[in-house]
């Protein structure tokens, strides 16, 4: 399984305030911390997310097509995660709402898309009963 994913940052302290808040909403804290690298998650738990200064010492950049998707427990939490992202200086990539058609069980994909302060794209989503 995927053990962890890293996203590049040009300002680790700034990234930390963003991910502390996002992880906090999910009830998760930091699991690893170095001068150039902070990871959020639970040891032995699910896949961790890390903000890191690039290994080559050059500027961090964003990959077009790269995205990390986080599963929320319900639409209200998707809304909260998106709001936290905006409040902490992230940017909008698609406001929270249902996407696509409901499946056979009447569940619809509900997601909000946003970027962190370095421009890395994330989404928070859940499956919810279609209104």
């Amino acid at each position: 399984m995927i053990g962890y994913v890293t996203l590049g940052t040009n300002d680790l302290a700034r990234a930390a305030t963003f991910y502390d808040a996002i992880a906090g909403e999910m009830g998760i804290g930091r699991m690893m911390e170095f001068d150039s690298f902070i990871a959020w998650g639970e040891p032995g738990g699910g896949t961790g997310i890390a903000a890191t200064q690039p290994f080559d010492g050059k500027e961090a950049t964003v990959g077009n097509g790269t995205m990390v998707a986080i599963e929320a427990k319900d639409p209200a939490q998707v809304d909260r995660l998106y709001a936290i992202a905006m409040e902490k200086g992230g940017s909008d990539e698609g406001v929270p709402g249902p996407r696509g058609e409901a499946d056979e069980q009447g569940n619809v994909f509900y997601a909000g898309y946003f970027r962190d302060l370095d421009g890395n794209k994330l989404n928070a989503f859940c499956y919810a009963k279609a209104p």
């Binding site: 890293t6 590049g8 790269t66």
Partner: protein, 126 residues
């Protein structure tokens, strides 16, 4: 974190799928999603799925410096096999299999689009 899916951008889905079919097969996983613009693979033991996609904005895919997806291997042999499969299927080497300062046994590689990945395990598991 409840990360459940990660995607990398690709400029060539066919080239990318050949690479990921080979890599994920080393973990016993398989392709679970196929659309006009994207492919996705799942791991047998669960955890996040991994996908490649033509970017949503229609512009060319590129690589983020600092971005890496790390896949847990079960032992050193598997780490070496995954790295070899990466190089045999259009990937490039970003650090050969071996012990790293952080205490892991790891190999670093890039997919055919240049996206960085690693496979790691605790040393001595082989």
């Amino acid at each position: 974190m409840p990360v459940v899916h990660v995607t990398f951008g690709t400029r060539d889905l066919e080239r990318g799928e050949k690479f990921y079919d080979a890599i994920i097969a080393e973990f016993g996983g398989s392709r679970m999603m196929e659309t006009e613009k994207a492919r996705g693979w799942a791991f047998p033991e669960g955890g996040p799925s991994i996908g490649i996609t033509l970017p949503y904005d229609g512009n060319e895919a590129n690589v983020g410096n600092g971005t890496m997806f790390a896949i847990m291997g079960k032992d050193e042999d598997q780490v070496r096999r995954v790295h070899a499969a990466a190089l045999a299927n259009g990937g490039s080497c970003e650090g050969p299999p071996g012990l790293r300062e952080n205490g892991f046994y790891a190999a670093y590689y890039r997919d055919p689009d240049g996206n960085k990945m690693n496979t790691f395990c605790m040393p001595g598991e082989s």
